[in-house]
Structure formats: C-alpha cells, structure tokens
C-alpha cells in the first residue's frame, strides 16, 4: 500500500454480480429492491441449504443456488403479515455454481404453465413446465444478487471469517445499493409509476423481413406464409437470461433457414410470399406479437406492405435445440382452419422425407391430441384474434417441455445442440419453400436447399458464449455491438414508439437480426431497373426511401440495398404514448388478452452496486468519539490547572 487511496481500495471490495430488479404491473410489484431509500448493510452469514437458515439478527444471507427456491418458499409459507425470518434478511447473495446440484430436477424461474392467463383454452392448470418454481413473479422486499464466480469465492471466505469470530464485531458486511426510483416516488403499480415518470414499459423492436423483397407501396396481394420466432427470454436475474433453447434455438433455426432460402432463385414465381417475423418481449405478456397485430390493425407505417387478411398461414418455430431424438412435434389449436393447417403439416412432412438421407434424419409428428391446445407461444396472440388462424408451432417436445431450465440462467449454450438446430433449420427451410409453392415443389428442388451448419455454430458462439460473444466476426461484419456479452431479457422501451427507430436505442440482438435478415434478403439490383446500378454508401439512412442501410459499423460505412426488412416496435398494446409520456389505455371490451395483460414496467434506478467491507459495531464508534472528546476535555482541564498552579507559584516567588 503506497497511499491513502490504496488504503481506501483495500478497505472496500466491490463485488461482481447480477441483480434482481423491481418490475411493476397493473396490480402491484414483483422482483427485488432495497426496502427503502438507503443502502442495505448487514454481516454476511452462509447457510448450506434453505431449511438450516436460522437468523438471530439482520444478516446478509449467502446461499448456494440450489437453496434459492426452497428459501423463498420458506418465506412465503412463514409469511404472516411480517414474518420475523423475512425481516432479518437484509439482502440475499446467491453463489455461482457449475450446476452441481441435482440436475435431474432442473430449475425454472417461471411458473408451471408460463403465462397461462393468455392461453386460448380453459385448462390453465396444465403442467407444460413441471420444473417451474414461479419465483420470477415473487415480490421481495430485499435485494438479491447472483454472484460471479470470482466474487463467490471471496464472499465465502468473508462469511467463514465471520463464523470463526462467532459474529462478534468487527464483522464483514455486505452493502447493497438497489434503491429503486419507484420506491422513492411511492409508486407501486404500472399506472402510477408511468404517470410519475419513475419507470419505463418493457419492450423493444421486433424485426420482419420478406423474401423475396416486396413492393410495399403496391403489394401483389399474394397470400403470405408468416414464419415466426422469438428473440427474448427471461430469468430471475435479468442480466443472465440466455434463453438458448427457449426460445432462441427457434430463432437460430429460422435465421439459418432464411440464409438457405436466400440462395434459391425463382422465389418470386411461387404462389405465396414468405415473410419472417422475429418477435421480442414475448416473455412478458406476449407484448411483441400483440403489438404486431395491433400495428397491422391500424395499418401503421412499420408494417406497410402487410395486412392481417393477407396472412394465410403461420409457422412458429419454438424451442427446438434439444430434439436429441430428431423428432419435432407440430402443435396446433383445435379451432384452426383444417385445410390450410393440414397443408403446413404436410409441407413439414415432405421436408422431413426429403431429409431422410441426411445424417440427422428428422421426423415430424403431430403433437398428442390429449394436449389441451398449443403450448405457450406467440401463436396464442394470433389465435385470440382469430381462432381459425391456420397456424402451427414446431417444438422439440410433445406433452411437456423438454427444457428443464426454461427461463433460467442455466438455459445456455450447454443446453442446446448445434446439429439439432441445423437439422430443424433444414426442416423449416424446406417446409417454407414447400408452402410458398403451395405444396407443389418436387423433392429435387427441396434437396437443393442446404443449411450452413457453421453459420449456426457461429451464431451460437456470438449469442451464448462470453468468447467471442457479440464481438464475433459474424456480428462485427454487420454492426457494432454496444456490449460484448448480451442478455436476452427484453429491456425497456426507450424511444417514443411512433418515432423512426434509432439504432442507438435498439438492443444488440434486434439490430443483429435486422442486419442479418436485410443482408440475406437483399434484392439483386439488376432485377429492379428503377434503382441505380451501384449500392450507395450510407451510415443510417438512404436517399431512396425504398432502400435500407445495412452493415453500417464503426469501422466501415454500410451500403444501401433493396430489402423489405423493417423494425416493428414491441410494447404492450394497453399502453399509449402522449406528449406527457406513457399512459395506460382503457381496456377495450372483448380484448381478452388485454384483460390478462399485466403490462410490465421496470423501475428506474440511479445506480446498482454491491460491495463488502469490515465494519465496527456502532457502540465502538461512539466509544472512540467519547474517548476523543474526553481526551480533549481532560487536556483543557489539565492545562488550565497547570497554568493556575504555575501562576500561583510565580506570584509566591
């Protein structure tokens, strides 16, 4: 230590961790936060499991991740109006682990039937997600952090030191700063916090693209085959929501399928038009798909070229990354129009047949008729709007989720298989071509549609690994990411919703999807004579309004291309934006999804931090002050006495 700043650094240790933050909905709050406006400080104490937790004083609990659900359940059960156990918890730290606890049980922060209130059928108790714990929806009045690997070792050592001295001061304490603006403003529902500007609605930008590019100002009127996937996930800790299997494996399959289809010529001669839609915000009330449908209804600029009546068939690619037995299940709603829905199933079957010589040999089966209906999926929004929608959801599972880590921090790259995704991509690509050709395409053409497996591998590296992360070659060639490692939590909607999307406010994942789709669906300039011969350089906008600027990065300019690739805002249709800000709109009659919509918002905060240090008991500090004052007073007294003594002595002399 060379200086006072060095001393200060040695005294305080900042920890790395992922916080659980405060969300609000129309009825109240969920998530975690500091209970008031001040930091939460308490000595660290570690327990091995949920049941052994015994607190005699306010403590910062350190628990292994396997104990989180059990402990929260204990709090819930003990809850009178003020459970004494909950009151003693100043904060909760969860240790990082390599998934060493019983993997067979699995872990999911979502409920047993995720977003059951949106299901277009009555069986809301069906157990799609048996490992679901529902902790994502709990409201906790203390901060919770998931620690990084390095910080976990440090905190364990500090907790051990506290144990060794028998919790006698001075003790190692953790200081949590997770004070939420909504707590300070006293706003505890979506409506009040939006009014007081202490929160923002959840949302982002979905992306749609057409292959081949459409003339949006004068559409041909071809029936549309809409292929859907989602790019957002969730977890108890929003910063670690990889969603690799659910739902991004579907998105990867769809993007790889687009890549394969873009190589095919003659798509414009096919009977139907292919449109791809990658939604965001689906984990929070299906706000992406519902907003998309609302935009279609109001014929907004964002969806120019599309209209609700031209969408003939819908193929949703759900979780497909764990189909280790190479079987994919086709889920449909009983009310779906028979003929067009059957055509989708047949197209998928034809695609599977064309792949019977491949190494993966995928199979396609209809989902069990004992299922109550379609699994949690974006298709639910379409079914609510029109129960006869000809749509299917392609999934890796039949009657219950295969994904044991749905909506948790463990749904990462180790939870998916690249070959399986590539196999699903082939299936989807060939099925889409089949559908576009009205199921008339022959096997030779189908067999020529080849998916690039290394593309899938590259995307997995970009989206789910720390290295290379979003600084991988594939992403860097198309855009400059704002951070290296990204979470797939949707985040908040930062712009005015009717504004032209500003890439600065758009999440990396959305921007990557937009640039990827635009790049792949780029129209060959020679085919459209009304456009200039060369691709112009650009940074964000192109002179010709029918062109878009793709691959503009910090290193090089983009190029203006003809592509029908657009951003669509994604936010709850229960919200509207006025000059004064966001507002909760009145509920329309007959809007069942709107009635079920919690309308999630996220609180603002000024800073979120976590640090540890050694702290004395308050009486020690008071003793030191008392000692200092006494020494000063005593010295005053002593000097005055001495002065008096010497003055007397001098007078006498």
């Amino acid at each position: 230590m060379r200086s006072v700043p060095d001393l200060e650094n040695a005294m305080y240790q900042s920890l790395q961790g992922y916080p659980c933050v405060r969300l609000l909905n129309v009825t109240g709050e969920l998530g975690c936060a500091n209970p008031g406006r001040t930091k939460a400080i308490a000595p660290i104490q570690r327990f091995q499991d949920a049941n052994s937790v015994q607190l005699s004083a306010p403590r910062t609990l350190l628990l292994p991740s396997s104990a989180l659900v059990g402990f929260l359940k204990r709090l819930e059960e003990a809850d009178g109006s003020s459970s004494s156990l909950e009151q003693q918890v100043a904060g909760l730290l969860i240790e990082y682990d390599n998934l060493s606890f019983p993997e067979v049980a699995g872990f999911s922060a979502d409920s047993i039937f995720p977003q059951a209130e949106f299901a277009p059928y009555d069986t809301k108790s069906y157990q799609w997600n048996p490992t679901g714990s529902g902790i994502m929806y709990r409201r906790l009045n203390f901060p919770v952090f998931l620690l990084h690997k390095n910080s976990t070792d440090d905190v364990q050592a500090l907790a051990a030191k506290n144990e060794r001295v028998g919790f006698k001061y001075p003790l190692n304490v953790a200081e949590f700063n997770a004070v939420m603006r909504t707590t300070k403003a006293g706003t505890h529902t979506t409506e009040s916090c939006l009014r007081e500007n202490s929160c923002l609605p959840l949302g982002g930008y979905s992306v749609w693209s057409a292959l081949p590019a459409m003339n949006v100002s004068s559409p041909t009127g071809k029936p549309i085959v809409l292929a859907i996937a989602s790019m957002d996930s969730s977890s108890f800790f929003h910063d670690v929501a990889p969603g690799a299997d659910s739902p991004l494996s579907g998105m990867l399959a769809l993007l790889a399928a687009v890549d394969a289809l873009a190589e095919m010529g003659g798509l414009e001669t096919l009977k139907k038009q292919l449109v791809f839609l990658v939604l965001t915000g689906e984990s929070f009330g299906y706000l992406g798909s519902r907003q998309f449908l609302a935009q279609l209804k109001s014929d907004s600029n964002f969806v120019m070229g599309l209209n609700a009546t031209s969408i003939y068939q819908v193929l949703e690619v759900g979780s497909i990354g764990q189909a280790y037995d190479s079987t994919f299940y086709v889920h449909k709603q009983a009310s779906a129009a028979t003929t067009p829905t059957l055509q989708i199933l047949n197209a998928l079957k034809a695609a599977a047949v064309s792949l019977k010589d491949s190494t993966s040999k995928p199979q396609v089966k209809p989902a069990s008729p004992s299922n109550p209906g379609i699994p949690p999926s974006s298709l639910m929004s379409f079914v609510h709007k029109d129960p006869t929608t000809a749509g299917v959801v392609l999934e890796e599972f039949d009657t219950i989720f295969k994904n044991k880590f749905y909506h948790s921090q463990y749904d990462d790259a180790s939870n998916i298989n690249v070959e399986v995704i590539a196999s699903a991509a082939s299936l989807v690509a060939r099925a889409l071509y089949m559908l576009a050709s009205d199921n008339t395409a022959d096997t030779t053409i189908l067999k020529s549609i080849q998916v690039n497996v290394s593309l899938v591998e590259a995307m997995v590296g970009c989206l789910f690994h720390q290295e290379p992360g979003m600084t991988c070659e594939l992403v860097k060639s198309l855009m400059t990411p704002s951070q290296g490692f990204t979470t797939h939590y949707v985040g908040v909607f930062q712009q005015e919703p009717s504004a032209i999307p500003d890439p600065y406010y758009i999440e990396d994942t959305s921007r990557f999807v937009w640039n990827f789709l635009a790049d792949r669906t780029e129209l060959n300039r020679k085919e459209w004579k009304k456009f200039s011969a060369q691709n112009e350089e650009c940074t964000d906008a192109c002179k010709n309004p029918e062109e878009v600027c793709v691959a503009s990065t910090a290193d090089h300019k983009g190029r203006c291309i003809v592509s029908t690739t657009r951003y669509v805002p994604a936010f709850s249709p229960r919200l509207g934006y006025e000059s004064s800000g966001w507002q909760l709109l009145p509920l329309e009659t007959g809007d069942t999804m709107g009635a079920a919509d919690p309308v999630y918002t996220e609180s603002f905060w000024s800073t979120i931090g976590l640090q540890v240090y050694l702290q004395e008991s308050s009486w020690f500090d008071e003793m030191v002050l008392f000692l200092g004052v006494s020494i000063t007073a005593f010295s005053f007294f002593a000097i005055i006495c001495t002065k008096a003594v010497f003055q007397k002595r001098l007078k006498r002399a």
Binding site: Y12, Y613, E616, L625, L627, R649, L650
Partner: protein, 255 residues
C-alpha cells in the same frame, strides 16, 4: 467508521493540541506565528528526509532501522539550527523592546515560545502522519492490519500521533532550556528520547505488537512531559532568579 468514529480519532490525535492552542497560544499573535514557522521548518526537514529515502522505499522491513536513525538525526540537527535562529530573534526582540522602553523577554515568555515551537512540530507531525490517514475513517468501513488484530489501524495511528505530539511539544521546552543552560544531560535527553520513541514504534511491526507499541509511545510522551514539568518547576521556584526576569509585571503583553 462513520462520522462519529472519524471525529473521535481526529480528537484523540489533535485534541490536546487544540486545547493547548486555545488556552496558551491563541491570545498571542507572536506565538501563533511561532507555531506556523516551526511547523514549516519541521515540514522542510521531513521533505529532505523523504527525498533522501525515496529511492529505498518501499523496501524490506530492516530498512526502517537506518531510516529512523537518520531521520531523527536530521530532525535533531534542524532543532539545533532552529535554536540558533531563535537566539537571533530573541536578540532582535530584546533590542526592539529596549528601543520602545518595554520589558525584555522573560522566562515565561521563553517557555511559551518553546511550547509554541514544540507544538508547531507536533501539529505538523499529527497532520501528516495521522490526519491524512483518517479520511477513510469517516466512511462506514474500518481496517485492521494483519499484525494488529486488537485495534483498528486508525486507533493505532491516532494514539501514536498523540504520543508524538506531546513528545515534540515538551521536548522543545527541555531543549530550549538545555541549550541555553549548557547542561549536558538535558541536552542529550531530547535526541535520545526522540530516537527511543521512534525505534519503539517498530514494535508495532511484530504480530500483536501494537498492544505494547502504543502504550510505549504514550509512556515516552509522559516521561518527556514529566521532565519538562520538573525543569519549569525548578525554573519558577523561589530563589531561582529575580522576579522581574521570570514573568511580566504587567498583564498587558505585547508578545
């Protein structure tokens, strides 16, 4: 350790200095200047020592031994230089007093100047060795060095600073008296005690050493105070000189 703790430590280190300043120094402008001048001189000597030893630090533990010896030697040499400066000023002031028909410096004046000089040294020491270290003490955390689990670093620093403050203040009283009177034993007392106190702080480096090191430092201070007290007692005793040379007859002092 919060505001209360921080203020407490600051008062431990500088409370007596503050008391001394208010009761003895503050009413006489010349004494205030003396405190400042002496503090400045002490700082200059410290800078010289720092420049000398900068190249060798941070170093092995045994480096502290030659470091302390040379630094104490330099500071004692500066004290002697300061004494000679003081003689010149004393001479000048006496001549000035004669000119304006006022009384020359008496013994109590000289003792007060000695105290002010010592206080200047002591306050400068406290500020540089303790007060700057105390800034983190106002925050919520505390700090214990590995070799001292009995008390926080800040408490050790505050007590040590208190000890040296008292030591420096009263050493100057002894030194002035000794250098004026030519009494060998008293002349040796100050540098020897200063060196002893400095070397005894090395005890703090031993594991658990602060339990002994801090009281030892304070003891050195008490011994110095006692010796200084005895000297002043003797000096102000009956038969030790003409009344007029001891203290001012009139209370109005121009010093």
């Amino acid at each position: 350790m919060t505001g209360a703790g921080g203020i407490g430590y600051a008062l431990i280190a500088l409370g007596p200095a503050f008391s001394l300043f208010v009761t003895v120094i503050a009413s006489k402008p010349f004494l205030i200047l003396t405190v400042l001048g002496s503090a400045m001189m002490w700082l200059v000597s410290l800078i010289a020592c720092g420049l000398l030893w900068r190249a060798f630090l941070p170093g092995a533990v045994w480096v502290f031994l030659p470091l302390l010896i040379t630094v104490v030697a330099i500071q004692e040499a500066v004290r002697i230089y300061y004494w000679h400066l003081y003689l010149k000023i004393e001479d000048f002031l006496n001549k000035l007093a004669t000119k304006v028909s006022k009384q020359q410096l008496v013994a109590t004046d000289k003792i007060q100047i000695a105290i002010a000089s010592g206080l200047g040294h002591g306050i400068a020491h406290s500020v540089f060795f303790c007060l700057s270290l105390l800034t983190p003490a106002f925050g919520p955390a505390t700090y214990y060095v590995d070799s001292c689990v009995h008390m926080p670093l800040f408490l050790v620093a505050a007590f040590t600073a208190l000890g040296f403050l008292l030591l420096h203040t009263f050493s100057m009283v002894i030194a002035f008296n000794a250098l004026a009177g030519d009494k060998r034993s008293h002349q040796l007392f100050v540098p020897v005690m200063h060196l002893c106190a400095a070397l005894l702080t090395l005890v703090n480096l031993l594991p658990g050493g602060c339990i002994a090191g801090v009281p030892l430092t304070l003891m050195c201070a008490v011994v110095t105070m006692a010796v200084a007290g005895k000297i002043v007692w003797d000096k102000t005793g009956s038969g030790s000189g003409d009344l007029n040379s001891l203290h001012r007859v009139h209370s109005a002092s121009r010093l």
